[in-house]
Symmetry: C2
Subunit: 257 residues, 2 copies
């Protein structure tokens, strides 16, 4: 019988000093040996980006029984890669990423460094979860998120996840007592309706800041993650890394081959 | 009858001065008014990253009848966003991205800035295509790619693309005469088996360069894009932006709700 504790790799995209990362460490620490490899500084919006044209450095910041913390100069996906290849002496049993300060529901899953790290885990067949709260504040309250992260992580410990599937978990911004439960959802169809804010520098040159808001294309879809969050539910979307639109292949074959 | 020429937005991730971008402009220019908005410098591996913590600048580099070229200081996804919001006066009819110097087959689709730009088009309901050749060389030969990009682009001009689907097109590194045709494929299941190259700087500190190769988990799958490319076929994978693993929802509902 293998009595070895599970090895849990933790990362995020808000950086190694984020409050949400500390919250996630607190959640998973009772269940195994925890190794944290997270970006040195905030890497929000970095999606699945990897560092090709620059080198990476890693720094060991902390070590105690069953907990080691490293920072990495790269992206969240880089952090997972360098953890697997240079820091860990075996493949981790689980990868958790977050808890992100800010929503990664709907189409944001594709921009999110938090989910980039979790999806990286899926590539290697490691059950992985990305957690996010609907609050960008660096001092955000993580009580609700910790309570439900624990429930979801315990389920994955017990039941695993299907091959090549990770979970995208978002927590509503409400009091813990008001949560109505967990809902397994679909990724809300939508897009960011961007508005660049144009400014002029002291030398007369123009520059642009990206701002915007999510435009929900299916506000009445009760199976969607945006609907769940608006209705006080913890939204869990199972995410796959095979992007193939299998249902379109037959028709495209008729057109192009 | 609307006799206005189609508006075609072009981007890439190798930067506005890449040979592959010039090749793609040459392919699409006969079919409409072309506006290029591409990163100022190489942004390979930037995936769907967006610039949140810094501003963007755009520079108009070239203008002639039916062709305008702009550079953008951000990522490929930023380039599409700022084109839609600040440069174009109407929504483009098509977005094409590339032609990338280097493969974006298999799991590379998720790391690719080229495909990040094309997927961004899908968010806004714009038929979009990412093109890539299996050659990283900056002086790579684009003859084969131009010939087949034209065929594929003409098909999309004529038939459109299904909602929220873009195409990931990869060209094999062979003589144009040896191409056996176009194959509509699935995204090959695989992962990058990374090997970080560890070096020591003159001050004794360690740093790491990411290297690696694609590990193909289904080398005998004749429907996969890696198989097609290895067998002298142009590989076309229809890609969707809904990452939901719909088939797992029922079982997860039983476990977690």
């Amino acid at each position: 019988m293998n009595t070895e504790k599970p090895l849990i790799l933790v990362s995020n995209d808000d950086g190694v000093h984020a409050k949400g990362l500390a919250a996630l460490i607190e959640v998973v620490k009772p269940y195994g040996k925890v190794v944290v490899v997270a970006p040195e500084k905030g890497e929000s919006g970095m999606s699945h980006a990897i560092t090709i044209k620059n080198y990476l450095r890693i720094t060991k910041l902390h070590s105690e029984e069953n907990l080691e913390i490293y920072s990495c100069t790269g992206t969240p996906a880089d952090s997972i890669k360098i953890a697997l290849n240079q820091i860990l002496d075996k493949k981790p049993d689980y990868i958790v990423s977050g808890i992100n300060h800010g929503s990664n529901s709907s189409i944001s899953v594709l921009y999110s460094g938090t989910l980039g790290a979790a999806m990286e885990g899926s590539f290697y067949g490691i059950p992985s979860i990305g957690f996010s709260i609907l609050d960008h504040d660096k001092d955000a309250d993580f009580e609700l998120a910790k309570k439900y992260s624990k429930i979801i992580f315990e389920d994955v410990l017990k039941n695993g996840l299907p091959d090549s599937i990770c979970l995208n978990v978002n927590f509503p911004l409400i009091d813990t007592n008001d949560v109505k439960g967990i809902k397994i959802c679909t990724q809300t169809k939508g897009y960011w309706s961007e508005k660049f804010e144009k400014r002029t520098d002291p030398n007369g040159g123009n520059y642009y800041w990206l701002t915007g808001r999510l435009h929900n294309l299916e506000p009445n879809n009760k199976e969607s993650d945006e609907w769940a969050l608006a209705n006080n539910l913890v939204a869990v979307v199972p995410i796959k890394i095979d992007l193939t639109a299998h249902e379109t292949i037959g028709n495209l074959k008729k057109r192009l081959t």
